[in-house]
């Protein structure tokens, strides 16, 4: 029952995104231009940036893209339509569908981002499988955390500012671990070095996921 609901809602998200392509194109252009601004500001040719700077800069770009991209997940549709959903589907179905959709969106944006980023600023990554695994986990983590926060922020007035300040502290522990793991992947360290960090990342993801699942119905009711 819940599974079918989620499937239908994810399909709805895709159709909606495809019909309002300007939002998706906007996000893609946002990633491209941010990467390009960073590239021009540093004013260095490829592979000259220090790996620590390279790594931190990339994740900061992805963080801001994620906050901007996910902030719209409850603002895209008109308010009246939520009443319709409210009568039709369960709250859990909505949050799970939105989280899965946002995770896929984040993954797409992160992959596009890393391609352009490596094109202009070089690419020091040594251990690609680990780097990609980290990217997938981070897409899931960003989407689970930010989807609930965007729901909270959409209820308040100055929502763009609020979205940022509410999500920074909540997402920071996750971001620090992600940066640490991807640094390990860049240096090509032995996989066992990243084991405990990966485990903590998965654990935080699970905590945030279950909390969103439990808390969202209360948000949905108001």
């Amino acid at each position: 029952m819940l599974f079918q609901e989620v499937l239908a809602l994810i399909k709805k998200e895709f159709v909606l995104e495809w019909r309002q392509r300007y939002a998706l194109n906007g996000m893609i252009l946002y990633v491209f231009s941010t990467v390009f601004i960073c590239y021009l500001s540093f004013n260095v040719k490829g592979a000259q940036l220090h790996p620590i700077t390279w790594n931190a800069l990339f994740w900061i770009i992805i963080l801001f893209t994620a906050i901007n991209g996910i902030a719209k997940s409850f603002n895209q549709e008109r308010y009246g339509r939520f009443y319709y959903y409210y009568a039709l589907v369960s709250a859990q179905g909505i949050i799970v569908a939105k989280m899965i959709y946002n995770a896929l969106l984040m993954l797409l944006l992160a992959i596009l981002g890393i391609s352009v980023y490596s094109l202009v600023l070089g690419n020091p990554v040594a251990d690609w499988p680990l780097y990609l695994l980290n990217m997938i986990l981070s897409a899931i983590g960003f989407s689970t955390t930010l989807t609930l926060v965007s729901g909270i922020a959409s209820k308040a007035s100055n929502s763009p500012t609020l979205m940022a300040i509410l999500s920074f502290p909540v997402i920071l522990p996750m971001l620090l671990i992600i940066i640490a793991i991807s640094k390990n992947a860049i240096d090509g360290l032995d996989r066992s070095v990243s084991d405990s960090s990966l485990l903590v990342l998965v654990a935080i993801n699970l905590i945030v996921l279950s909390l969103s699942y439990i808390l969202f119905p209360y948000l949905w009711r108001s």
């Binding site: 308040a156 502290p169 935080i204």
Partner: protein, 229 residues
């Protein structure tokens, strides 16, 4: 004058006595001589209990947020907010006392220690919580949405404060090879003051919160009376 309820007096008396004992005992009693730390080890009685107090007060706040979501009772929301307020006061005091201590032992006000960073992020979370509250106008919506954020934020604070610092090296006493107050260094003389200090400061926080809750209730009662007239 209303008769004093003995149950309410006892714990306040206990708090005052414990804090007197902490201040007098903490400054006068013998402490172990450790390299680097020297006399600054006395910060254990004033700095560390701030963090214990903060965590306990914020935990109470999160518990009342959960109770609010279970049962839409405005009283629970008042309790959650005021305990978060008291917790943040403790957090600010903890950061300030920690910075003063760090200036004398590590030689810098801020040295990027994981615990320093973690506590700064914890404070950011709760400042965001207060801003969220202020940007919602409807009373019931304010209570409900801020309760959701409070629970969410408290749960993400746990890995930040308890797991991440253990994954990285730190200058902080109690981590790595530093002389400090970990289980082996903490000698019985320190414990004699430390545990009463933790209880005393935490009770003081509860006291502050309970006073503010009472002020809030009186104000809202006065508003109601004004409305009826």
């Amino acid at each position: 004058m209303a008769k004093l309820n003995s149950k309410h007096v006892i714990w306040k008396l206990l708090a005052s006595l414990l804090l007197f004992y902490t201040i007098i005992g903490g400054l006068m009693m013998e402490v172990p001589r450790l390299p680097i730390l020297n006399e600054t080890i006395r910060a254990l009685y004033f700095h560390v209990p701030m963090w214990f107090g903060m965590i306990i007060l914020l935990l109470i706040s999160a518990v009342y947020s959960i109770r609010y979501l279970n049962k839409d009772d405005q009283a629970y929301d008042d309790i959650a907010v005021e305990f978060a307020n008291a917790g943040v006061i403790f957090g600010v005091l903890g950061i300030v006392t920690g910075m003063i201590w760090a200036q004398f032992t590590w030689g810098a006000w801020w040295s990027g220690d994981p615990k320093q960073n973690g506590s700064a992020i914890a404070l950011m979370t709760y400042f965001a919580y207060f801003i969220l509250r202020n940007s919602l106008s409807d009373q019931q919506q304010k209570a409900r949405i801020s309760a959701i954020y409070n629970i969410f934020a408290f749960a993400t604070l746990i890995p930040l404060l308890f797991i991440l610092p253990r994954l990285t090296d730190s200058l902080h006493p109690g981590n790595g090879g530093n002389p400090g107050f970990n289980a082996y260094d903490m000698d019985s003389k320190l414990r004699l003051v430390f545990y009463p200090a933790v209880i005393g400061w935490t009770l003081l926080g509860v006291w502050i919160a309970s006073l503010r809750i009472r002020i809030k209730r009186l104000k809202s009662d006065m508003n109601d009376l004004e409305y009826q007239r």
